[in-house]
């Protein structure tokens, strides 16, 4: 890629300055869907959870599925960009920000579901440990409470991780803009002047964050998995769940990232910046995760089957050959049989279309996986007398769709506010980037490395 910094700025800042009618159209559609979901939620609070498809014994279903799924997606960003940052992979530079954005949004969406699925959501704040004259604290032994903390930590962490490297770009916009934009970006760039000291601090902060965020991310999904693993429910009570969920999370995360990147590339005409190489590299990662995921599923099923504990077998068979088997085998196809070959073949992998074609089934498959972890186990829990089944109601379906729409909407808005690719990092990634930190303040303010 041989573009002058000026061109880069122009290309990457274009979306922020002008938007096409397409943009507004999509935004409107997505907004409508989100509104529908919100209505559904209010409706649910009005009448109670009865309007959902939940029942005894299946007390958890779509909502918790979505919760786990979105948490999984959230591992796209931070984790990936952090790892790549730590191992200093150069090709990451254009990818990181979209990845981190995904994290923040999917995480905030995921965070909603525990509230949506409550019987009495208006009392959710009892999860927060605050001293009161009644002397009652939350139950610290409850995985749900661990969730509460883990998610909040991760949210704060990833927001910081997203914002930190944005300041130079905000500053860049500020300096190039006029009118209200100048003001607004002036404020949110928190007085970034690009002094060497600031550059140095930023680099430092980024390194620390990158290292710190990885264990947080891992712990978050481990804890989510413990929501299930801690309960003595057949199919849930398994030590493998921690790593299994983390792997699955990164797996679905990368898939989501690839799809998102492809979309941005098309919509924002970033062909020169998001190049096949990026998709190829992510594709490799995805292949690894796909294999890893398959290994976990296999290991989990095998041990269950071999262990032959009556309580667990009913669940096992229901997913292999029973009522839930169609979903199960669809999942296997989506997560392994379709993507693995595609990604394994280089000539396909480095074609963007193919990597996307491999990623979309994975997203579906991973959603199914969460569903298959939750519902069959509850449907076939120990006492055959109480076996049951589940069918979602329109409310649950609309809310699910709505969250996908919300994701898209947030992302669109994001792309109007943030340069979707971290400009200064990109520039640093270019030849002769080394002296960038030693820029003269004046020029640095514009965030432009000196053209040699």
């Amino acid at each position: 890629m041989n573009k002058t910094p000026e061109q880069i700025n122009k290309d990457l800042l274009r979306p922020i300055y002008h938007a096409t009618w397409r943009f507004y159209a999509t935004a409107a559609v997505l907004a409508a869907l989100v509104a529908a979901a919100l209505f559904a939620w209010v409706y649910q609070m009005y009448y109670g959870l009865g309007i959902s498809g939940l029942n005894r014994p299946v007390f958890w279903a779509f909502y918790i599925t979505n919760f786990v799924f979105w948490i999984g997606i959230s591992h796209a960003g931070t984790l990936i960009s952090a790892i790549l940052r730590v191992c200093n992979a150069g090709w990451r530079r254009p990818v990181t920000r979209c990845a981190e954005a995904i994290t923040v949004f999917s995480l905030s969406i995921a965070g909603l579901f525990p509230l949506i699925h409550l019987g009495r959501p208006w009392l959710f704040f009892w999860l927060i440990p605050y001293p009161s004259e009644r002397g009652i604290w939350p139950q610290f032994r409850s995985p749900l409470l661990w969730d509460f903390f883990a998610i909040n930590t991760y949210l704060i962490g990833s927001v910081t991780f997203l914002l930190l490297p944005s300041f130079p770009d905000f500053a860049l916009i500020r300096d190039r803009a006029s009118g209200w934009r100048r003001k607004v970006y002036g404020i949110i760039s928190l007085g970034w002047r690009g002094t060497p000291k600031q550059w140095h601090r930023l680099e430092m902060a980024m390194r620390i964050m990158a290292v710190a965020i990885i264990p947080v991310a891992v712990s978050v999904h481990t804890i989510v998995s413990w929501d299930f693993a801690m309960a003595p429910v057949p199919g849930w009570h398994s030590t493998i769940f921690g790593p299994y969920f983390v792997a699955g999370a990164i797996f679905s995360g990368i898939a989501a990232l690839i799809v998102a990147m492809a979309l941005l590339r098309k919509l924002l005409h970033l062909e020169e910046y998001l190049r096949p190489i990026h998709f190829d590299n992510l594709g490799k990662l995805l292949l690894v995760m796909s294999l890893l995921w398959f290994y976990f599923v296999f290991a989990e099923r095998l041990t269950t089957w071999y262990g032959n504990f009556p309580g667990e077998m009913s669940v096992f068979w229901s997913t292999q050959i029973g009522r839930f088997s169609p979903l199960f085998w669809t999942m296997v196809f989506c997560n392994f049989l379709i993507p693995a070959p595609i990604l394994a073949i280089k000539s396909l992998r480095n074609k963007i279309g193919w990597t996307v074609a491999a990623s979309i089934p994975i997203i579906i498959g991973m959603w199914l996986e969460r569903f298959l972890i939750i519902v069959p186990s509850l449907s076939y829990k120990y006492l055959p007398y109480n076996f049951g089944t589940y069918w979602p109601s329109w409310v649950e379906i609309i809310i699910t769709i709505g969250t996908f729409a919300a994701m898209g909407l947030l992302y669109l808005i994001f792309s109007r506010i943030f340069p979707i690719i971290s400009i200064w990092e990109l520039k640093l990634g270019m030849p002769k980037k080394e002296e960038a930190p030693e820029l003269a303040p004046a020029e640095a303010a514009a965030g432009q490395p000196q053209a040699g």
Binding site: G50, P310, Y382, Y385
Partner: protein
């Protein structure tokens, strides 16, 4: 109530709620000065009697202060009054020993049922249209009186008929006197699961025209021919109490329980050995067993006594009933017949019971007599661990009551015009619902010129009434009862009202008395009591001179103590067995006749008393509707039980809608694959399929009675409700079968000893 409905209600609820909010206190109902002095939150326990079935268990009613909407002087308001909150068994009562069955528990919902009739009604629309207008009690009583003949017209019966459920208390006496006074024939008693056959058999065998009391607590071996004695037959609570003791109440001693039937009942499910015999061949099996016992000289033929004498060839050792022959007819293998015989003989005291479908056959009486004979042979009559007959309390009025005609006869008379009925009084009997179509009860009632009902609810029968004078619930009125069985003591239970009436209702006996007063003449003379309470006080007063549970100085003390204790029970238990009134012909056990030929109608159809609804009278109680049936686990449903293999052969899936057709009608109900039913038998619970019985029962499920043949038991003429054959066809759409539990087979996880 379905969800749409629920949503509606909630919507309305919130709307009204919002309105109330703006309301000033003045707008709220006024509160009357209470008629009784109660401390809120403090419970009182008052004795009562359960009338949910005929057993006559004693109650303790938990009464607490609460606020109910009542009308006083035509004004609606709130009044703090004692409300029945919970029903429990009366621990002192000889029948139920402080226990109570599900029906009994649900009795509360009879009193508080939203569908209760709250004031007298006069028909305003066409018959059966259900259009009524509220009238005052004075009008109502005057109107009723005006439809009754002043006195007996010379020679013939007056054209008044009284239709009631079987009553064994002073209400029956009152009714009898009343009818006699106005020259009407004795009351027509009706219930679907009538016990005529067994009573008749016991009269022939043992000289007691009543149901047996089984001393399960002391028995070692129970052989039951289709008697659902732990669920719906005879005196279930008393029998369950005994059964518990029989199983685990006696250290180191556990009786065996063998159940013979074609469809596994809730009772049969508890059997140590469950034996399938072809429907209606129970008598043969009994005699087959007797044959073995006699042949192997395990008991002398003489011990059969009168009961034995009834059986053809008894003294000759029942040559016709060799196990081989019996096995062919009953489908029970020879070895088993012999083993059962030996076990019975080897484990005295052993007792034999017969009931349910075994008696509802064309050969029902023969079956019953055979079982009785076997009981005799086992020397288990009138001995501990055997069968007894509850002695009647010394209440002369109740001693000899006249038998009324049957509903079938009544209807025939009306339809033929041979004995027309101008005025029909109906009291808590529902023949329109619970009679086979061939009886044409509805047409008959429509031909009756005037019908007055005392029912608390609008049901299929009372919805044809021209006048409805709603009765109190049994918690609101004076109740007495003389249990026919279930105890070895003479018992006369008494239940004073536990709470003030909720609605503008009156007790049927009091209404009758008032009508009599209005009519004057014979009636007024015959019924001189002011209220039913006076009548009871007079009647129970006579018990004071007899040895019993209560010894009181003065009559008043006695009366008040009877009220506190919930009744009087005689001292000691009589084990006497009268000498039988022998029937002239010796009985032969035989194979029953069935309605519909075996080729086309290939299934025996067994209706059975539902654990939830009995004969259908409890179908309007939400608790009973939602209580899962023990065997099927079904709620709010009616279903057809069919053997899984048969279902597989016919490609029938669980819950699939089936059409059950007999020669007399057809119905549709979902299939329930029941492993405990014979391949050539389908069974269906009685109780659902009400057309018009309140919001909980109406239009739910199907009514098996409506496809039954009018076949009768040969000797007694009782309805043989188990003698219909049906054919099954798939409708090809899912039915509404709501199961609480999965249709589950083996125990999921092996319990380990600790």
């Amino acid at each position: 109530m379905d969800r749409r409905n629920f949503l509606k209600i909630s919507a309305v609820g919130s709307a009204t709620a919002a309105l109330d909010a703006c309301g000033k206190p003045e707008r709220q109902l006024i509160r009357f000065i209470p008629e009784e002095d109660l401390i809120p939150g403090v419970a009182q326990w008052k004795p009562g009697i359960c009338t949910q079935c005929g057993a006559g268990c004693g109650l303790q009613v938990r009464v607490m202060e609460g606020e109910a909407e009542v009308t006083r002087k035509g004004q609606l308001g709130l009044m703090s009054m004692g409300l029945a909150k919970k029903l429990e068994g009366n621990a002192a009562h000889p029948v139920n020993h402080g226990k109570l069955c599900a029906w009994g528990q649900a009795g509360l919902q009879v009193t508080y049922n939203p569908d209760r009739i709250r004031f007298p009604l006069r028909r305003s629309g066409a018959r059966g249209s259900g259009e009524y207008q509220e009238i005052s009690w004075e009008e109502g009583i005057k109107e009723l009186a005006s439809h009754l003949p002043q006195s007996k017209p010379a020679g013939k019966h007056s054209a008044v008929a009284f239709l009631t459920e079987p009553l064994s208390d002073h209400r029956s006496v009152l009714i009898e006197k009343f009818l006699a006074a106005i020259g009407a024939p004795p009351a027509v008693e009706f219930e679907f699961f009538e016990q005529t056959v067994l009573r008749r058999a016991n009269e022939l065998s043992f000289g007691h025209h009543q149901l047996p009391t089984v001393d399960l607590a002391n028995t070692n071996y129970v052989l039951s021919f289709g008697a659902d004695f732990l669920g719906t037959w005879n005196s279930p609570v008393a029998q369950s109490v005994g059964y518990g003791t029989m199983r685990q109440g006696r250290p180191g001693m556990r009786g065996k329980f063998v159940q013979v039937e074609a469809r596994m009942s809730q009772t049969g499910a508890n059997a140590d050995e469950w034996v399938y015999a072809r429907p209606g061949t129970e008598g043969l099996l009994a005699l087959g067993i007797a044959h073995v016992i006699l042949k192997e000289n395990l008991r002398p033929a003489a011990s059969g006594g009168d009961a034995g004498e009834q059986i053809d060839g008894w003294s000759k050792g029942l040559p016709d009933y060799a196990p081989e022959a019996v096995a062919k007819l009953t489908g029970v293998e020879v070895a088993r017949i012999e083993r059962l015989a030996r076990e019975l003989a080897a484990h005295p005291p052993a007792v034999v019971m017969i009931g349910g479908a075994s008696l509802a056959q064309t050969n029902g009486l023969a079956n019953a007599l055979a079982a009785n004979a076997l009981n005799g042979l086992l020397e288990s009559v009138g001995k501990p661990g055997g069968i007894f007959f509850t002695p009647p309390p010394p209440l002369p009025d109740l001693a000899n009551r006249k038998e009324g005609a049957s509903v079938a006869a009544l209807c025939e008379g009306v339809l033929k015009g041979s004995s027309p009925v101008e005025t029909l009084l109906v009291y808590s009997a529902n023949p329109v619902f619970a009679s086979p179509p061939a009886w044409r009860v509805r047409e008959a009632l429509e031909k009756v010129s005037y019908i007055a009902s005392f029912g608390s609810f609008v049901d299929e029968t009372s919805s044809l009434a021209d006048l409805i004078l709603p009765d109190h619930s049994y918690l609101e009125s004076w109740v007495d009862n003389i249990p026919e069985s279930g105890t070895m003591q003479a018992v006369a239970s008494l239940g004073p009202p536990a709470m003030h009436p909720l609605h503008h209702t009156r007790a049927m006996p009091d209404v009758l008395l008032e009508v009599a007063q209005q009519m004057g003449g014979n009636a007024a003379k015959a019924l001189q009591w002011k209220t039913y309470q006076d009548m009871l006080q007079a009647a129970f007063g006579s018990l004071r001179s007899h040895p019993g549970s209560i010894t009181a100085k003065s009559a008043d003390d006695f009366w008040s103590e009877v009220q506190e204790k919930g009744g009087w029970w005689g001292a000691g238990s009589s084990l006497s067995v009268r000498t039988a009134t022998k029937s002239t012909v010796a009985v032969k056990a035989s194979v029953p006749r069935f309605d519909g030929d075996a080729q086309e109608y290939s299934f025996n159809f067994l209706p059975y008393a539902s654990q939830q609804f009995g004969d259908g009278r409890h179908a309007n109680l939400p608790w009973m509707q939602e209580m899962p049936d023990a065997i099927s686990t079904a709620m709010w449903s009616a279903w057809v039980e069919i053997n899984p293999q048969t279902a597989e052969r016919m490609g029938i899936r669980q819950g699939e809608l089936l059409e059950v057709a007999s020669q007399h009608g057809k119905l549709q109900a979902p299939a329930l694959l029941a492993p405990g039913i014979a391949p050539d038998v389908v069974a269906m619970p009685v109780g659902q399929g009400h057309e018009n019985y309140g919001r909980y029962a109406s239009g739910r499920g199907a009514n098996p009675i409506k496809i039954l043949a009018p076949a009768t038991e040969a000797e007694t003429g009782a309805l043989a409700w188990a003698s219909t054959r049906v054919k099954i066809t798939r409708v090809g759409q899912p039915g509404k079968l709501i199961l609480f539990g999965g249709g589950v087979r083996e125990w999921p996880l092996e319990d380990r000893r600790r």
